[in-house]
Amino acid sequence: MRSRYRSVRGTAVVVACVLALGACARQVATSPPFGISGKELYAFDGLAQMTATTPVVVVGEVTATEPGRTIGVAEQTWRTNVATLEVEKPLQGNAGDQIGVEETGTNGVPYLKVGDRVILFLRPYIGDPPREDGLNYFTVMSSQGRFALSSDETLIPANVESEWLGKMSGLQMKDFLAAFSAAQASAQQGDVTPLPPPPLASGG
């Protein structure tokens, strides 16, 4: 009888473990499916247009990341990436010394990770912030609006589909800053037209 009780109890323990492990294994993926390719809200024809359209541009370093909300549909769901950046140099707009950036990982742009130094072209996050920590939250304008900075201060665009971005690959930071200042001057003089905001379904 005691042996039978042990057997039943053992079975229950093992089944519970199996179910628990199974539940863990079914967690939502923390990175997006690799092959997603889509039509972006913004597709810029050059640095001047991207600068004229973008409200906030910063140089910063990623100090923390954590998985955000679950997105995607059907079998393809994954977690966004919520990164905290120390702003090293604000280039345009008012962001604050520390900001949050949520990324969806679509169009092949890998998630930011701690230690990454980047130049980001950002727009304000819409809706409730991903974390209640008082930071200003943003999303990247498009895959064109993200550049990694290597240890020798050269730019690595996340998206090199466009010819103009391909030409910026390997640019020194000081040369980028000069080009960016020229782009800002063009925008201020009205020499370049900003792209309109994407049309919201509400008609707003």
Binding site: A25, L41, V73, A74, N107
Partner: protein
């Protein structure tokens, strides 16, 4: 049942659950640069695409999808039809709503051999686009990916729905030539 038998059954169950879970989470594209991977166009592996619309799509997006399918794809050599069950489809169309995404919509090959895709998922972001013509253009764009077409940038002299950032209706002669050569 002996303890050994219980352990064996439990382990077997664990392996089955793990395998199924890994299948659901597996990266369907393998390593970078492999066929049907990001920025590597691939195309439907048959000659007649069967479209299925998820029930959450809503009439506006179904109408736009049907418009794109019947007006832009059907005149080509790639025949299309729609079906009632996902299991019978080659292209499954879904909707999502995310104003913080960088995309209007996207295309995802779920199952492929080399550059031939056996099953596509298409996703439209309902946070954007309130005009029928823009929804039709987006459907034209995403469905165009299933035929192996990729993006143009500012191709205004020979407009195509595959162009970004604008919303043209229909494929251009170059696109149609590619589609008709392939199917």
């Amino acid at each position: 049942m002996s303890r050994k038998a219980v352990m064996a059954v439990s382990l077997a169950a664990w392996f089955v659950i793990s395998a199924l879970s890994n299948l659901a989470l597996a990266n369907p594209f393998g390593t970078a640069g492999s066929s049907c991977a990001h920025y590597v166009p691939c195309w439907y592996d048959g000659t007649k695409e069967r479209y299925w619309y998820d029930s959450s799509l809503g009439s506006q997006w179904v109408d736009a999808s049907e418009y794109a399918r019947t007006h832009f794809l059907n005149p080509t050599d790639l025949a299309t039809t729609n079906v009632a069950a996902h299991a019978d489809s080659d292209v499954a169309v879904y909707i999502y709503n995310d104003p913080n995404d960088i995309l209007y919509g996207y295309s995802d090959c779920i199952s492929w051999t080399g550059v031939l895709c056996g099953h596509w998922h298409e996703y439209f972001n309902s946070a954007f686009l309130y005009k029928d013509t823009k929804r039709e253009s987006l459907a034209c764009h995403e469905f165009g990916h299933t035929t192996g077409l990729y993006h143009y940038a500012n191709h205004l002299t020979n407009p195509s729905c595959m162009e970004v950032p604008h919303f043209h209706l229909d494929y251009n002669a170059h696109d149609l030539s590619h589609i008709n050569d392939r199917y």
